[in-house]
């Protein structure tokens, strides 16, 4: 039973991270109908920025709390700057191009960013500083759930609540919902659609950066390639929940995280990634609209 709970909690942790990244996919898809292939790379860049800033600060002897705040801030700022720039350079000129064009452009962007980080930094795995301390009050349950797991789950929950509030109650949230329902109509009512799209990329990238920071500190190492697998898995989560639907992305993240955790725990850990990919293929074949998504009806 204890093993089960342990697997369940580690699944929740994984699922939280997947959900954070999946939100970026699902929001962008909801608004411009594009699978932002480079989103995994944004997550990686967020984690890398946090790594660089926190290591520099710790070398110069900053206190831990200051490091956490500054590294988190830097990760969010730079990740959203990258997200904004990518949208402007690689997707905006293709807004009216055939459907395949922005997708190919996104794949190119993803390869470019991976190799940019590889060349500018290194191809080795780097040790990520432990930003989340072990809490004393977690001592009695430490063998089941670590402090970093708790922080990850709580941060994700907080991020979800803030995002929901932003989308439900703010002006820009309203504009985002309107744009995703009907872009042309939103434009006619005076919404600056370009700005809404940019904001979407910025929000999605910030969430991905938070995810990157948390997971890197949890696992304790980082590499230029982490974005590829994480990106595909988060995409799987988004599709699983129903792409375009925000609660769906969260649900999909948790379902995927738990599936992976149980499958590696009870079946075999060699095929960890195969489970995720097979799950993706199965959903797309049997229920492409996902758990919470609406089936898309094509009108002529």
């Amino acid at each position: 039973m204890e093993y089960f709970i342990e697997l369940f909690l580690s699944g929740l942790t994984r699922g939280s991270i997947y959900a954070l990244i999946a939100l970026g996919y699902t929001m962008v898809y909801g608004i411009i109908g594009l699978i932002n292939f480079a989103h995994g790379e944004i997550y990686m860049i967020g984690a890398f920025t946090a790594f660089i800033i926190s290591t520099v600060l710790s070398i110069y002897g900053f206190p831990l709390l200051g490091i956490i705040v500054l590294a988190g801030l830097a990760a969010a700022v730079w990740a959203s700057a990258y997200g904004y720039t990518i949208e402007k350079l690689a997707y905006r000129p293709l807004r009216h191009a055939p459907r395949l064009s922005p997708l190919i452009s996104a794949i190119g962007m993803s390869i470019f960013l991976q190799n940019y980080v590889l060349l500018a930094q290194t191809s080795d795995f780097l040790p990520f500083p432990e930003l989340i301390p072990e809490f004393d009050f977690m001592e009695p349950v430490a063998h089941i759930i670590g402090s970093s797991d708790l922080v990850i789950i709580l941060t994700t929950a907080a991020a979800m609540v803030i995002l929901t509030l932003v989308i439900k109650f703010t002006r820009i949230g309203k504009a985002m919902r309107a744009t995703s329902q009907d872009r042309m109509m939103a434009m006619l009512t005076g919404i600056n659609v370009d700005r809404v799209i940019s904001t979407t990329f910025i929000i999605g990238s910030t969430l991905a950066a938070v995810g990157g920071l948390l997971i890197a500190s949890h696992i304790g190492q980082i590499n230029f390639f982490i974005g590829f697998i994480a990106g595909i898995k988060a995409f799987t989560a988004a599709v699983l929940g129903g792409i375009g639907s925000i609660p769906g992305a969260v649900l999909g993240g948790f379902v995927l995280g738990l599936t992976e955790s149980f499958a590696t725990g009870y079946v075999s850990s060699d095929y960890e990634d195969v489970f995720a990919f097979s799950l993706l293929v199965l959903i797309l074949i049997f229920k492409p609209s996902g758990i919470l998504g609406r089936a898309e009806i094509q009108k002529v």
Partner: protein, 411 residues
């Protein structure tokens, strides 16, 4: 010319990029020795580079606007825009045949003109030509974005390696079997996913590609795992024993032959009933179904035929390198082949050939730049989509024209 306003915008862009690249390009930390290296020179490079580039792009746009207004005014005086020279040569047998013959002659003489190393490099490039042409059927002609093309390549390579290992079959026996196996994989994988829309298809094929690689890596009893299979025999030629040099030259001629066959088949396919169905499907799926084209069957044949070429090249790859392991079949390989098709021009045979030669030979000869190879491939995909989506050599739609003769003009 470029105004002050534009200069200011370029300057802003360069400042933005200096900010953007600051942590990753400028700071390099060593977490173990606890040292920090500040590489400020990189920031200067980025600043100057972006400024220059942005001015160039602005100049390009201004130039294009001017050209556009020129052609419009020309058309007003009854002048019809000239077709590109390449298309003209392709259309005129008078020029096409001698050129093709010269190219063929050069290809045949290549091993005697250059040394073995060059021949070997050329063989690799020609293999990518075939891969590019195969993927071109799927992506360029039928418009199905396949990101797991390398899986079929792996199927071909592993079927040669494994069948040879266990059943001691020869190269020539396995070549058609590898092609058939890859085609069957194409159908098996294609059948469930082809109902999906374009962008989902891309992700699922990517997933399939990764699954195949992961299975090859982890199922050691079947594929010998990450250490791969070595000592794969080279192809025989009526039982003749060959030394390494002549084996390489023989391999080269084999691939040249394959390229010629591929060009012939792909060219004929594009103009066939099936090829026209593919193009129609690419342009508008619903209209195409309304015209009575079986969507699933047409897509499946595209998938299977594309996979066939990958299977054949896979067998040849295994025979050429005599050693394979799963590391040769990563997503990056698929990305390279996709870059070839996109750079050359989707759907254009000549374009794909030129694209493959550029992308494979250039990094080979510019060794200093080979580090930046993948960076360039990524950039190519983005830049081509933004600035020239039709590729280096655009595909022209086959069209029929009535030639006006003098007599008809009278009537």
């Amino acid at each position: 010319m470029i105004s002050m306003e534009e200069l200011k915008r370029s300057f802003k862009a360069s400042v933005w990029f200096m900010f953007l690249t600051f942590p990753i390009l400028v700071i390099k930390v060593n977490p173990i020795e606890k040292t920090v290296i500040w590489r400020w020179e990189n920031m200067a490079f980025v600043g100057i580079g972006v400024f220059m580039l942005s001015i160039l792009i602005r100049a390009f746009y201004i130039h294009r606007e001017r050209l556009r207004s020129l052609t419009i005014s020309k058309k007003r005086f009854g002048y019809i825009g000239d077709e590109p020279l390449v298309q003209f040569i392709l259309r005129e047998p008078k020029y096409l045949y001698p050129l093709a013959a010269a190219t063929l002659l050069f290809a045949l003489l290549f091993p005697s003109l250059f040394d073995t190393y060059q021949t070997n490099v050329m063989t690799t490039a020609l293999m990518y030509v075939v891969l590019g042409l195969g993927l071109n059927i799927v992506v360029g002609v039928a418009g199905l974005l396949d990101l797991g093309y390398v899986a079929f390549y792996a199927v071909g390579a592993y079927s040669y390696a494994l069948l040879n290992l266990h059943f001691d079959l020869g190269f020539w026996a396995i070549l058609p079997m590898g092609a058939l196996l890859a085609a069957m994989f194409g159908i098996v994988l294609g059948f469930p996913v082809l109902r999906l829309r374009g962008d989902y298809l891309a992700i699922v094929t990517l997933g399939f590609g990764e699954i195949i690689r992961l299975v090859l890596e982890n199922w050691s009893e079947f594929s010998q795992g990450p250490s791969g299979i070595s000592n794969i025999p080279r192809p025989g030629f009526f039982g003749m024993e060959m030394d390494l040099n002549s084996a390489i030259v023989y391999m080269y001629y084999l691939v040249v032959g394959l390229v010629i066959i591929t060009i012939f088949v792909v060219n004929r396919l594009q103009d066939s009933r099936l090829g026209r169905a593919w193009i129609a499907l690419r342009e508008d799926e619903i209209a195409c179904q309304a015209m009575g084209i079986d969507k699933t069957k047409t897509k499946l044949t595209a998938f299977a035929l594309g996979a066939t070429w990958a299977g054949i090249v896979g067998v040849i790859f295994a025979a050429k390198t005599t050693f394979i392991n799963p590391a040769s079949f990563t997503f990056l390989e698929s990305a390279i082949i996709l870059s070839i098709v996109v750079l050359g021009g989707m759907g254009s045979i000549l374009g794909v050939i030129i694209g493959a030669l550029i992308l494979i030979l250039l990094p080979e000869y510019l060794r200093a730049l080979s580090e930046y190879r993948m960076l360039a491939f990524g950039a190519i995909l983005v830049l081509m989509m933004v600035f020239r989506p039709q590729g280096i050599i655009a595909n022209v739609r086959r069209s029929y024209q009535f030639k006006k003769s003098a007599k008809e003009g009278d009537a």
